[in-house]
Amino acid sequence: GGSSGTDAGSGGDGGSGKPFKVIAFTSGNQTPIGAWWVKQVQADAKANGWDLTMIQGDFDFQKMNPQVESAIGQGADAIFDGYTDVASISSIVTAAKDSDIPIFAVDAGTEANDAFALNVTSNQQGIADQTVQEISKQLGGLQGKNVMVIGHDPHPGIRMRASLAEAELKKAGANIAGGSIQKVKSPATGRTEALALVSDYLTANPGGLDAVWVGWDDAALGAAQGVSESGSKAIVTGCDASSEAIAAIQSGTSPLVATVEQPWPSVNKTVEDAILAYQKDGTKPSETFDAVDTTLVTKDNAASITPSDKLGS
């Protein structure tokens, strides 16, 4: 690709002959969603005529950040962040600010902040609400029910929705099994960790669970396996709408009863539209943060949901 453009930070220059230069990066390209996003952005950039630099970081910020920063140093019109939390890229944010290039982001943090011209993510409160309500519905109320909450702190989204869910469950009168949120340490072993957490808890407290609220599907599937292997009647909810979770929900035999679909294609579209608007005349979105609503996936609607790991295929 031609490395043109020393016009860093010039904003919209739709009139000039130079192509609009976009640096896109994601740390999560080894995840199915990340992989989908990379393909989608590459296709859209072609359609939009962008000069795209795509940087993929495998969660290795030591490697990714210098690359993004050096691309910034060579000049760009806009930066596009996919699924990389604001906390991990503060050096990129600084570099972008210094060069006066706006960052547009998909799912890059759970709260509004001034790092981004726009950050659109899913509504964590909504996810917590939907899942907790579903549990409540299936259990016929939460008062006195024992619910385990399994989270994963390094992921800000999971962390936030887990604590929102915990608060809501408590408010509705449920007991949090084990006293607080159970923490899975590594996403790689999330399924086995959740499986052991649930099995061990049920051994120590036979019949001690009415539901397990889990922050993401991979671990939720482990928790569901733990529940069924222990012969418990507890139900499980997850989040992500992975194909495996959807299949489990559809099967009707799994304790996993619900998950949540986050509308990534439309989120991505929103952000890309904002970039296009900026390209056209330099307008930036009026709100820098948007949390879009999600869809609860249960047996009733599971068939109509596109699984998150099958996006674009």
């Binding site: 790689a188 099995s199 790991d309």
Partner: protein
């Protein structure tokens, strides 16, 4: 010979002749059993804390089920460590095997084909590791570190980064089925451990492995084919790790590229814990089993007590150090 039920046959010679070298004292013996003591202490502690739960059938089965696949990977690691090497790729190999099985099943292949192919993958990786180490003389550490990197990459390619699932029951039964109310992987782990134990103890190849692990040069000059034996050790490790990976995929009903990656560190820790159990300080199967048990009991017990998982991790490290320290006191010298 009949009079000596101890594990050191030939000891009757002691009474007959002058023995220049004194046997170990009772104190030393007890200390060298430090790792066993640590296991007993852990069991007693958790039992004391939750007598209603900890030693129940359900929970013991639970522990066994949880450690069964780790135990298999640890067997693979033990074989390689007996030869005095390391295999950092065992966990990656198991993930790749599981992924290959998963991918073939997803592609509609039969369970037999999938299992055989996955076993073959483990075997092939072990063979490559063995060739690198035994015939190209690479340090096992670098060779398996590098192959681990490649293997993980390959597993990502095989799974396309996703989690494969929806396997036929014929496959998942391998990991989730039960016999006499005990899950299959437990039987398989016991079987594999027993076979490995017998191979290590009673076969010429097993004894060659121990000789090579004791001193490569002496072994070579004694006419042991060092290269072939080391090649075989890595191959066996790859094969066993591959089997472990298949069982993990069957047990979880899914396969992914990073599945079971913590088995590497835990298997190494288990073998090391086990090495403190015997006099010679060599890797050995009995010891490894004890090491695996310590790791399993610890994690289950701490879960049962509801200890925060971060604190659990801190405690795990401390308990490993405590167990090994107990045993190592015997070898302290100025």
């Amino acid at each position: 010979m009949t009079a000596t039920p101890t594990r050191n046959p030939g000891i009757e010679d002691t009474s007959a002749g002058v023995l220049a070298v004194p046997r170990r004292s009772l104190g030393q013996r007890a200390l060298s059993g430090g790792t066993v003591l640590a296991l007993v202490a852990l069991v007693l502690f958790f039992f004391a804390m939750r007598p209603d739960v900890f030693l129940t059938f359900t929970n013991v089965r639970n522990i066994l089920y949880q450690v069964s696949i780790l135990a298999i990977i640890a067997v693979a690691q033990t074989v390689v460590m007996v030869v005095g090497d390391f295999d950092l790729s065992v966990a990656a190999t198991s993930s790749l095997s599981g992924s290959v099985a998963g991918a073939l099943l997803t592609a509609g292949q039969s369970v037999t084909v999938a299992v055989l192919a996955a076993v073959a993958v483990g075997l092939a990786i072990g063979l490559v590791n063995g060739l690198l180490v035994a015939y190209l003389n690479l340090s096992a550490f670098v060779a398996t570190l590098a192959s681990m990197t490649s293997i993980v990459g390959a597993a990502y390619l095989v799974t396309q980064g996703t989690t494969l699932f929806n396997f036929p029951a014929g496959f998942t039964q391998l990991g989730q089925g039960r016999l006499l109310n005990i899950p299959m992987p437990v039987y398989l782990a016991v079987l594999i451990a027993l076979v490995a134990w017998a191979v290590l103890r009673f076969t010429t190849i097993g004894r060659s492995w121990y000789a090579i692990g004791g001193n490569v040069e002496v072994a070579r000059l004694s006419g042991i084919s060092v290269r072939r034996s080391r090649l075989l050790a890595f191959t066996v490790a790859g094969l066993v790790a591959g089997i472990g990976g298949i069982l993990l995929a069957a047990r979880l009903g899914s396969s992914s590229a990073v599945q079971g990656s913590d088995n590497l560190m835990f298997s190494v820790a288990a073998v090391f814990l086990g090495m403190t159990v015997i006099r010679s300080g060599a890797a050995n199967l009995g010891g490894t089993v004890i090491g695996v048990a310590i790791i399993g009991v610890m994690s289950n017990g701490l879960n049962i007590l509801g200890v925060n998982s971060y604190v659990q991790q801190v405690v795990t490290g401390i308990i490993i150090i405590a167990a090994v320290t107990l045993s190592s006191l015997k070898t302290r010298s100025r």
